[in-house]
């Protein structure tokens, strides 16, 4: 199982702050993103950063281990 987290403006547009995606071997970060972007196009229009297990990841080809925590994030506006 892959845990997907949303925060702030992305969570608002998805309508929830977390969901799960079934794990499968060879699952890439970009696969999860593509699947969810079809379901939540307005939310994903805001996404400009992605983290896996709390670390920034830029490479969509990254293979996701089972139990990964994936976060699709809008531009930060803290401070």
């Amino acid at each position: 199982m892959i845990q997907v987290l949303f925060f702030g403006p992305v969570a608002d547009r998805v309508g929830q702050s977390a969901l799960s995606v079934d794990y499968q071997p060879e699952l890439r970060l970009q696969d999860v993103r593509d699947t969810l972007a079809v379901r939540y196009p307005q939310a994903f229009a805001l996404v400009c950063m992605t983290a896996v297990n709390g670390q920034h990841v830029r490479d969509g080809a990254m293979l996701l281990p089972d139990h990964s925590e994936v976060t699709f994030m809008a531009k930060f506006s803290g401070g």
Binding site: F7, G8, P9, T71, F76, G78, G79
Partner: protein, 143 residues
């Protein structure tokens, strides 16, 4: 006794005096301390703002802030540094974020403080929502 860890996300307000005392405790060689305090404004981009709310990806935000502190200490040869960000709903005049950089001399402290608040805005997963009489809106930062 409140938590005075050097890097914190917290709901409650903080005291500059307490933060500076904790910063100073790390060295008697600290000649310059630069701080930046970000506060809530009652007006933003031409709209009145009644409250500002913050949401964070807590675990990642904290680890990014911890790394940012270490990066600043290394880059500017600081004696110590602190970063506190509130995750709360605040109104005009309330404190939001506090950065402190302590160095032997002022130039390093001032440069580090400026760099840290700029980097915090880029690196740390926190989002701000402004409530106005016209409704609520998440803030989209300028490039």
């Amino acid at each position: 006794m409140s938590d005075l860890t050097a890097v914190r996300l917290q709901t409650e307000d903080f005291s500059q005096d307490a933060e500076i005392a904790a910063l100073k405790a790390s060295s008697k060689r600290m000649g310059g301390i630069a701080t930046f305090l970000g506060c809530a404004r009652d007006f933003s981009e031409g709209r009145e703002v009644s409250t500002i709310g913050f949401e964070a990806y807590g675990a990642m935000a904290l680890s990014e802030m911890q790394q940012l502190r270490l990066d600043a200490i290394a880059k500017f040869e600081l004696l110590d540094a602190r970063i506190v960000h509130r995750i709360a709903t605040v109104t005009a005049g309330d404190n939001i974020v506090f950065i402190a950089a302590g160095a032997e001399h002022r130039v390093a402290a001032l440069a580090a403080c400026h760099w840290m608040i700029d980097e915090l805005k880029l690196r740390v997963p926190i989002w701000k929502k402004e409530s106005t009489p016209q409704g609520d809106a998440w803030v989209v930062p300028h490039p």
